[in-house]
Amino acid sequence: METRFLELKNITKSFGKVSALDRVNLFIKGEPEIVALIGDNGAGKSTLIKIISGVLQPDSGEIYVKAEKVDHWSVAKARAARIETVYQDRALVVQQTIARNIFMGREKTGFLGFVRGKEQSIESDRLMRMIGFTSKVFSSDSVVAKLSGGERGGVAIARAMYFEADLLILDEPTTALSLTESEKVFDFVRKAKERGTSCIFISHNIYHAYDVAERFIILDRGRVVREIDKEQTTAEKLVRDLQEIAHRGHRPAEGGVGQGGR
């Protein structure tokens, strides 16, 4: 079997008494693939993503990168493993310029840690042009607060693109985007795969997800309840699966896994 790029084993995470993830296993193949993470609100999708990107530390469980166990997983280690994340909240600093946002946390620096501002703004201009997310005139010196929601999403995606990841994580990348903008995002995901980048994304739109992804992981109340390959299902079947899982959860008499709290 070829080495898996990333593997999570028995990841458990709780916030106080609320269990967000319960012994979750997840892997990303060694060769590029697109995985959709789906599930109801509160299923633990965003928590799982934040653990993969290193923002949250799991309470227990192991993380393997290319079959090697990594201890003290962090944002820096995730980045070193070439994992890039576009967060649901975009992780922007809105009073700063586009260039500063793109290079946030890993500025291009020269002598004694001074930022090479000109280089950053040229690169940012190039990126914004490439992503083509413009409905009005702006430059890399523009403050992010002046941009529309879609354009802000564009900045977050441009940032992830710039650092050419091996694994790209998108947390609801298409919320608040227009139809054409969403199409651009998914087109970008496909293109990234062609270039050798795997992608995990969260979407509430099953049809979108079905269209782009090759593998579906359904989370329900902190557990991976189903893993399906695209060949084995259709969009309609996926929707039915989700509904079934959701309904099952609402009948406390059945199952009785004792995870309630909904």
Binding site: A91, M104, R106, T109, V115, R126, R129, S139, D187
Partner: protein, 343 residues
């Protein structure tokens, strides 16, 4: 709803831009980038104009500026460093007491026969360490910096009172030594410590505008959660800013001790309000994420001339605080009007 017929986005980077990149040049960009500092400059210019009109004999006399410059470097050092802490969304109210502590450290060291230059380093280390403790309290214990540095301010002052038993240390024996000349002497009537203050401000300006540290300070103050998600070590950046205030207070402490030719246990006590006012009059807003170091220097100058100006304008000293407050409120209202409009 199928979206598989999306037109592929060309990955060709050299493609001409789909729109004309609007890049404003020259004076407009400069004014937009430095709008806060420029608005602070406007406040200072307005103040000077009023004072010159009301008290021409005082304000057209160069001697008044020499007098102002003798005390100005201390608020400049403090205000400039405070900008870093305010921009990252915190506050430090203990700088006055850190100043006192550093002055004491310097005076005690030099009085016990240490080399004065070594004593300066000692004072800076004391200031920096105190700032580090402030940073630890805020980042490790998660206390509000407003409250914890207020507590620290009292605590350090109490420490000085207990440690010195209320006695000052005279530094007159340093007068006319080469060390005194390079620290607080004067060059053609211009106080040397003003040069130190401005040099410090210049370094701070470089750090704030062009260094990774300044960029991180702005990001952390703008949105700490985003900063964390993008891999910035938020607690570390916060601690560094508190250390920076500590070092600046240490430097201000040495200069103020030398300028007064003595250390007294209450040194730095009266600086809290003017320096805070200077930071905000200088155009740094209270909400974090943005600020201006150049504005802080201008703000410190404004607050410096207000005191002299009110006296020179012939207003009864009973009105002093009233006008002081009025000017601060007017200045900050002016900055509010000058804020850029966002969606």
């Amino acid at each position: 709803m199928m979206t598989s017929q999306v037109k592929p986005l060309s990955p060709d980077l050299d493609r001409p831009p789909p729109h004309k990149v609007e890049r404003k040049r020259g004076i407009i960009v400069f004014m937009d980038r430095n709008r806060r500092a420029l608005s602070a400059l406007l406040v200072l210019a307005g103040l000077m104009l009023v004072f010159i009109l009301l008290g021409p004999s005082t304000f057209l006399n160069p001697l008044i500026y020499t007098a102002i410059f003798r005390t100005l470097p201390i608020p400049i050092l403090l205000t400039v460093s405070l900008v870093f802490v305010i921009v990252e969304g915190e506050i430090d109210l203990s700088f006055g007491s850190i100043l006192g502590l550093s002055t004491w450290a310097f005076a005690a060291a030099v009085a016990s026969g240490w080399n004065p230059f070594l004593s300066v380093v000692f004072a800076l280390v004391v200031g920096g360490c105190t700032g580090f403790v402030n940073g630890l309290i805020v980042t490790r214990l998660g206390l509000s910096s407003l409250v914890s540095t207020l507590g620290m301010s009292f605590l350090l002052r109490g420490l000085i009172h207990v440690g010195t038993q209320g006695n000052g240390i005279s530094l007159t024996f340093l007068n006319d030594t080469p060390f005194y000349q390079v620290s607080v002497g004067s060059v053609w009537g211009f106080p040397v410590h003003m040069i130190w203050g401005l040099a410090f401000a210049a370094v701070a300006m470089l750090l704030f505008n062009h260094h990774r540290f300044g960029a991180h300070v702005c990001c952390v103050g703008d949105n700490p959660e985003s900063s964390r998600e993008m891999g910035i070590n938020v607690p570390r950046v916060k601690r560094l800013a508190f250390i920076f205030v500590g070092i600046a207070s240490g430097m201000a402490g040495v200069l103020s001790g030398l300028n007064n030719q003595m250390f007294y246990p209450g040194s730095g006590e009266d600086l809290l309000m003017p320096v805070l006012a200077a930071a905000f009059v200088g155009g740094t807003p209270t909400w974090g994420g943005v600020g201006t170091v150049a504005g802080a220097v201008i703000g410190a100058c404004s607050v410096g001339v207000i005191e002299t100006g009110i006296v020179a304008a012939g207003v009864s000293h009973l009105y002093k605080n009233f006008f002081y407050g009025l000017i601060i409120i007017l200045a900050v209202s002016g900055h509010k009007l000058n804020e850029p409009q966002y969606r």
